[in-house]
């Protein structure tokens, strides 16, 4: 058996292993405690997120006069041609592909585009705004601006373009022949 430096070395190695284990256990404790604090804080906060709910909680708040519709509702309006679809995405994304008949009203250039499209928009019985996915807030920005200009029957198809494409509904634009 090695004595002296050998056993020192072994003790040091054991100390190191113990410390590493302690660090890992501490890290795990942080993750667990954070989950508990988070759930409790969320439960009692003024604006709790449903932990397992999906899209409803992600929807941006909208002005009165604006409401969300689901894909089926939007498709029904599309089929009945009872609504004007408003694509709130930037022009290059609109050009690549959009709901057939939709007009491009980018949230970043709202005033300019609105001035151009106002006659078309005013003729429409209902307006369905959409942007790309669950995380875009462009459709709600545009819908709120439209409501502020006195338009009624303003709807948002949340996560619109993603849903529309996923459902395999028709589209027009440069990416589709």
């Amino acid at each position: 058996m090695a004595a002296g430096t050998g056993s020192d070395e072994m003790m040091r190695r054991r100390d190191n292993e113990r410390e590493r284990g302690g660090v890992a256990l501490g890290a795990l404790a942080i993750l667990v405690v954070a989950a508990v604090i988070g759930l409790v804080q969320n439960r009692f906060s003024g604006h709790p997120l449903p932990p397992f709910a999906s899209e409803a909680a992600l929807r941006p708040a909208v002005a009165s006069g604006v409401s969300y519709i689901d894909l089926a509702g939007a498709k029904a309006m599309f089929d009945a041609t009872s609504a004007l679809f408003i694509d709130a995405r930037p022009p290059e994304e609109y050009d690549a592909g959009h709901v057939p008949g939709a007009v491009n009203l980018p949230s970043d250039e709202f005033a300019k585009a609105y001035a151009r499209l106002a006659p078309t928009i005013e003729r429409a019985r209902a307006l369905v705004c959409y942007c790309e996915g669950l995380t875009c807030d462009r459709s709600s920005v545009v819908a709120n601006l439209l409501a502020a200009r006195g338009h009624s029957h303003v709807f948002i198809l949340f996560s619109g373009w993603d849903q529309w494409q996923a459902a395999g509904y028709p589209s027009e634009g440069s990416s589709r022949q």
């Binding site: 954070a34 997120l49 397992f52």
Partner: protein, 168 residues
Amino acid sequence: MMAADIERPPSTAPLSSLLWHPAAGVVARVAVGGIFVYASIGKIADPAAFARAIYAYRILHADVVNLAAIWLTWVEMLAGVLLIVGMGRRSAAAVTTGLTGLFIIAAWLAIMRGLDVECGCFLARAIEGRLGWSLLLRDLALLAVSLYAMLHPSDALSLDGLVAKPRP
């Protein structure tokens, strides 16, 4: 071979002592902790915005996005506070290092897939940027400092140092 060959050349000693100076460890620890606490405050204020930011990366399923938002926010806050006060310093730094590593992977995946998303790092409009290579570099720098804080041997100015038991 002479014994002197094995010893560290004396010229590197000042650099090494500067690198592992206790003050440098404290600065790194408090800086990383501060960044994480600051990042979590905006998320606590608007959890839905953070959930949207996570969803934009299209890595997690929509059903668990909210849970991840709630959890990650408080992991950031807790690890950040522990780093600042120096309690469970190494564990907290291990968490911030791991978290930053995850952010880097997520950001890299998003860039590779050509996603145009907000970073979701701070949620404060002034410093929040679109995801890109510069943000990835910023995260890599944070990863380096966080790793350094984890490996630094000094318990100076920390609660760990106050309660440390002297070795027999």
